[in-house]
């Protein structure tokens, strides 16, 4: 009681609590360090994931572009005409398909 009174008089925290306070401060700082490290790691991981996702997106876009070019190749008139003539034995539509009738119009 005398000691307490003495501490109270000096306006200080009891010595027993001082150690705990230090521990708390160290714990907080350590926790802060851990959280900071975790955030940095997560941030880098997220960046990596974003980068990987963007790479996949770019790859898909690249495939899409190549497919569009391939589509143009496939629908090229030269190719279609070749297939129509050689495989399907078709001939080009001409004016010979126009049928004329004698007599007056209407």
């Amino acid at each position: 009681m005398a000691i307490n009174n003495n501490n109270m008089v000096n306006g200080l925290i009891p010595k027993k609590n001082k150690g705990s306070l230090w521990l708390l401060i160290i714990f907080i700082i350590f926790s802060e360090l851990m959280v900071y490290t975790w955030i940095r790691t997560e941030s880098t991981q997220t960046l990596l994931r974003i980068s990987a996702a963007e790479d996949r997106l770019l790859q898909k876009r690249s495939y899409y572009k190549t497919l569009l070019a391939e589509k143009e190749v496939l629908k090229s008139d030269a190719r279609i005409t070749r297939i129509a003539k050689n495989r399907l034995n078709l001939s080009t539509a001409t004016m010979k398909q126009t049928i004329y009738f004698s007599g007056n119009e209407g």
Partner: protein, 577 residues
Amino acid sequence: MSGDFNNRIKKRIIVIRALMVASILLLCAKSFDIQILKGKELSEKAENDYSRNITIKGERGQILDQNMNKLGASIDAVTITACPAKINNPGDAAQKIADLLNINQKRLKEILSSKRMFAWVQRGVTPDLAEKIRGLNISGIYFENDSRRYYPNRSLAAQVIGFTGTDDSGLEGLECRYNSVLEGRTRKISFTRDGNGRILDYEKQRNSELKGDSIVLTIDKKIQFLSEQALEKAVTSHQAGSGMALVMKPGTGELLAIAHYPEFNPNNYGNYDRDTYRNRAVTDAFEPGSAMKVFTAAAALEKGVTPKTIIFCEKGTYRIGNFTIHDTHSYEWLTISQIIQLSSNIGAAKITESIGDKALYNSLAGFGFGSRTEIGITGETPGNLIPYKKWSKIDSGAISFGQGISVSALQLATGISAIANGGSLMKPLLVKKIVSSRGEDIKEYHPEVVRRVISPATANELKTMMNLVVSEEGTGTKASIDGYEVCGKTGTAQKASGGEKGYARNKYISVFVGFAPLENPELAVLVIVDEPQKQYYGGDVAAPAFKTIMAESFNYLNIAPGKNKNMVARVSDGGKN
């Protein structure tokens, strides 16, 4: 005893505390030094280790036809480079890479064995293949995202479109002329790497913002294709050297097709003769022969001569100064219409004699001969029309029937379109608009009247005369199309002998130029076949190709036949034969 012990403990605690405080102060001081005092310097060092500044270039814009079909486009590709100094086993690396890329292993080994810090391995590699090479994990081999020009329709309109070089810069045709519009913009960016050297490549996305603008042409892919087919048939069946065909909308001057034969594939242009690269319809001039008589007749009609005016054609032989000109048949009295229909050289020369050199010159210059059309293609020829004051007697006679004057195919098509549209010379149009990578129109090109060259009445009379050319008695019967009133003019010109004076024997240019339908011309077509063998008259060589192009284009464009032949039914397109 207990007091001493406590004191010692207390002292130790104080020492430890002091040490801890000192350590913390030291750490703070070091931290202050690293973060604040040396912060900038160290972060720069780290940046140098983990990031790299490079310049990226956007993808090249596209070349599209009027229906937005791709004529020239870019696809993703990878450029593979090497730092030979960093390659541990060049022989092994060369073997593995050469096998995948299918390139010369010995040559690659030489490159990779050098002590240089940089070397190209291969450009324009497909992303798939690049990924396989990346999988080999060869140190000193690097990959750079790039793009490669690709022409999906291969040789279609190749001379018009042109091609790009290995650095993606336009070398020929529109690729060269519109290089500044098409090429992608550049920007400096920084790549960041993580501790394992992996690239955090998020800035790469911005590449799309740098994409070049695209150009939309007036060319119609289908009409271009069928023109090329008909031209190829005309050239090969007559064993000719080359050929050209142009399809134009007379009312607007829009070019729907510019076909050349022989063709080349711009995807591997290196395998073809350089002569085939040129857009000869614009860059080369030739003597048009009798096709020019239409313009001579136009000059006469504008001077007040009527189509029924008769001219004595000297029974097939006529002497001008020291030269004698001939007709293919012996004619006596012919009207202006008959001179055009039967293609009389003497008649055309006598027309010029009656109207004077100045009138002919002014008319031809008015139609645009002797000056560039300003279509916007590099290397356009103005042709050759000598000022009339320098004409000799034979010059004025020869020019009236298309010798002694040279014109480009484009000028001839533009001139004939002026007759077709009622007398207005249109500026030929090849590029319709420029669009941004987001699809917004940046610039539009509209049809432009250069000048009025003949009156509508003269144009109508000329149309009637040209219609007679494809009639049974005319020289261009092979150009007639069932159901349509076709107007045209044949031309057969002797070629100048290379290096010598005069004309070469047995070297001709066969021409057919015309338009249809007579009442409201929708298309003007010009076919030129250079140095055909055996047959050489324009009516025999070029007219059938003209007919094919015109008929198939009408079929494709759904332009119905006229009503003068009692036509009441038409089988739908694509119906079975």
